[in-house]
Subunit: 317 residues, 2 copies
């Protein structure tokens, strides 16, 4: 007589029950004029402009169900899109999510995913306002975030000028260190950072107010992402490796694995730190760290270091 | 000595070249303040509210590469989302698209897809303003559309009241007839309708101006979709089967296959016709056909006909 446990799957429930179950877990905030359940949602856009970004996340490529809980997948999926909105100097208002779900996926997994999306949105006061559910052999999330600029000009990637300084805020190298631990079959504080990024959302609008001329969120790796910023601005960037603060979790993981923590800081993505360019005379709050400067030329140089660009290309890895 | 043809794949090009190749094919319209290439796009939302809808489309489930060209997949993917915006009484402004692409997919296929998305957006004056490309074993599209209400109240699903009339505009049953032909290995005019819907986009805002109290686009099947509208309004709906105009392509396909064309009209989806509820004394332009009325009660009845609900549930089919 074994222990039998009855697991209810999304296939048992059917599309409409799954949708109702998800939407029942999603409170609608003040920006939402019409939430889930209609052909489309309606969200406030008081600025008269709307900021929009989308990402596709695939099981096996962007997350693994045996490495991350459904809740963590939800938080991470929301975080990476909300962070793109913040990186324009905007405040996220809402998220819509297209979901591909295997029929044998436990309904509880979907509950966890919805809760994760909801809780990450709650960090910035945003709501999940709509979505779509379809059957798929693997878990697929198509996440789109909207945001409001509150009268600010959007901070693009192209505004860097020679003489300006490059500053970062948020964690760098944590997610990469955590992934390295997981791949080695180890645990550690950095693993939490891999499972659940903590983007510094409110520092995006702050950077815009402080006069940032260019900004992006670090998703593929700092050197690679700053390379896009350098290219868009027609400038070069010089980074000072000694300027980077190394997080305790990164240092601990490096010790454990015999690795150089600065490799993760410079080439690791998925922490969704913000990197911004400011006038040289800017006075920045302490949570921003100046790590380099904009120069004439092209590309990203790291002082005293040859960088082999290991950033992410989805068709090369 | 065979005929060798060199096919360049997305894997040959890599993520960044593929993205540049796609965005190079996408003109940016007047609503777009910042197009592809940054963390997020910025689109005008002059109404101070934004309408948003998302769908996930999967190869093998929503389209087949041997039945539809890349161009048709692009048009259809855009159409189904733009139609959701129109069904709220809004005018679509923009689209963002998350793409999952197999590494061995010919780059030309992606060109065709981008052209299809672009051309369907052009029908309504919208633009593809951003996206995301990632590698996937099957083609996946996460499509999100935004729209502007132009000062109108959104027309939701819940406003139907007894005594009002139900009217439709656009094609009904065409896509289902076309799919039936394809499944039988046949061709015919309806097949084009399956490959490329022609939603009556401008009739959505028109219905709002004419005083529609409820509206939706027919994506899963008329009876099933009107069932959602009846449930949302706490009412019943009676349809008159004699009132439906039968398209020539539908009649031809029915003759070819020995089928009843009204089955496709009542239960077939994917044409993205609009169904709206109006006050009984409304004067409608000729492109709207009154097909029934709202009554006390619940559910959808078709006069003189027992309807076996065959509408779409993604986990049951």
């Amino acid at each position: 007589m074994g222990n039998w446990r009855c697991v209810i799957t999304v296939g048992d429930l059917g599309e409409f029950v799954v949708v109702a179950r998800i939407t029942g877990r999603l409170p609608q905030g003040a920006s939402v004029l019409l939430g889930p359940g209609d052909d489309a949602a309606v969200v406030n856009a008081p600025d008269g402009r709307v900021v929009v970004s989308t990402d596709l996340l695939l099981e096996g490529r962007h997350f693994r169900r045996n490495w991350s809980s459904a809740y963590d997948v939800g938080r991470k999926a929301a975080a990476q899109n909300l962070s793109d909105i913040a990186a324009m100097g905007a405040v996220p208002t809402s998220l819509v999510v297209g979901l591909g779900l295997p029929a044998d996926l436990p309904a509880e997994w979907v509950d966890g995913l919805a809760d994760g999306l909801r809780d990450e949105c709650a960090v910035v006061g945003a709501s999940v306002v709509g979505g779509d559910v379809t059957r798929c052999d693997l878990v697929v999330l198509g996440v789109t975030a909207l945001g409001d600029l509150g009268g600010r000009a959007p901070v693009t990637r192209s505004g860097a000028r020679p003489g300006q300084v490059v500053a970062v805020t948020g964690r760098l190298g944590h997610a990469a260190a955590g992934l390295a631990l997981l791949e080695a079959g180890l645990e550690g504080e950095a693993v939490d950072a891999h499972r659940r990024p903590r983007p510094p959302y409110d520092k995006g609008p702050e950077a815009a107010e402080l006069g940032a001329s260019a900004m992006l969120d670090v998703s593929d790796g700092l050197v690679q992402d700053l390379g896009h910023l350098a290219e868009a601005g027609g400038v070069g960037i010089e980074l000072d490796p000694a300027a980077f603060p190394l997080g305790e979790a990164v240092v601990a993981a490096a010790k454990e694995l015999g690795a150089d923590p600065l490799d993760w800081v410079l080439a690791g993505g998925e922490d969704h730190a913000l990197a911004a360019v400011f006038p040289a005379d800017v006075r920045l709050p302490a949570h921003w760290t100046v790590v380099g400067r904009v120069v004439e030329g092209e590309g990203v140089q790291v002082r005293g270091r040859v960088i082999e660009l290991k950033g992410w290309d989805h068709f090369r890895q």
